[in-house]
């Protein structure tokens, strides 16, 4: 009886230990699966934001409720489950719907202007600004030197003017 009792006790403990161990293992496996699901969901959400609905111009696949967007979201999920990389997904979509479907069109010959025109215009603007400000600077400088180099007659006239001005001022104060 006593022995029997102890035996069951031992068995109980073993069972508890075993189930705890299995709990841990299951939890670990679940966590792994969950995290890969979460990762997949994240990629799905990101990609459906980065792809444009081919029917509706100003909406991403994620925003749009058009039939085609629903189809493409379903297809996107399927491609991800098949192990397509993000780049491969974009390639797949662009092969069927053109670069229109990508919010970031790739740098190609046809899109060079699109990518680099703004940069060129900014550079051009900077050059113009620089040139204009420099020429302004130069003209104002030349005007200064002109004033500095009065000839003798001009200097005399200026001095006279200044004197007469002074006397006028004095006169005015006298009157007051």
């Amino acid at each position: 009886m006593n022995l029997h009792c102890c035996n069951t006790h031992w068995l109980q403990q073993a069972l508890i230990a075993l189930s705890l161990m299995m709990c841990g293992m299951i939890q670990q496996a679940l966590a792994a699966e969950l995290s890969s699901d979460v990762l997949m969901e994240k990629r799905f959400a990101d990609l459906s934001e980065q792809l444009r609905c081919p029917k509706c111009q100003n909406q991403s696949l994620a925003d749009s409720d058009a039939i085609i967007s629903r189809d493409l979201r379903r297809q996107l999920r399927e491609l991800l489950q098949q192990g397509y990389s993000n780049a491969e997904v974009k390639q797949y979509m662009a092969a069927r719907y053109g670069n229109f479907i990508l919010y970031d069109p790739p740098v190609e010959r046809a899109t060079l202007v699109l990518w680099f025109a703004p940069l060129l215009l900014i550079l051009l603007g900077a050059v113009i600004l620089y040139r204009v400000s420099r020429s302004h600077h130069r003209t104002s400088q030349t005007e200064h030197t002109k004033v500095d180099t009065l000839n003798q007659a001009e200097a005399k006239r200026l001095a006279n003017l200044l004197v007469s001005q002074d006397s006028k001022v004095i006169q005015v104060t006298d009157d007051a």
């Binding site: 058009a66 085609i68 189809d71 493409l72 053109g98 670069n99 113009i128 020429s135 030349t142």
Partner: protein, 194 residues
Amino acid sequence: MNQDTTVATNWSGWRWRLLLLLPMVLAFGMGALLWKSIGTDPNRLESNLIGKPIPELLGPSLLDQQRLLQRSDLSGQPALLNVWATWCTSCAIEHPYLIQIAKLEQVRIIGINYHDKRPQAIDWLNRLGNPYAFTVFDQQGDLGIELGVTGAPETYLVDAAGIIRARHVGILNERTWPQLRQKYQQLIADVDSQ
């Protein structure tokens, strides 16, 4: 006088000032470009699949559930692939015209019944007439994705080898068919000359 010559050699005189007109020139150019695009349909995108073959496997037949339609069912003739559905109101407007060109001009038209219900679609063809040599039942839009379909109605011109030659988004009618007809007749002539 002296100043003028230095200015000219430094490229900051009138010639340089002309560059200040550049923004205005660009603005006018932009205006002209946008002006030109007023009235054109932004939905009309050139297909990326022109020059590419249609898929080998098209899908089940609408009228014969057991039959699986393939590229070879084009049977070596140029054809129009017309995407339609019973929920699509423009398709109802387009339908009589398709019947007309199928009958009067012997144009081979293949239907793609897109995101639809089989009984309704069959009923539609029974009621309004059937201009299609055969119709693919594309319930999930899978064939649609392969062809780059964005909605209905939409029509693809496919040559005898099953290669996409043109795409038309919207209704086919007296106004829109002639452009496509020209290409279609060219393809027919190509087949005949072989």
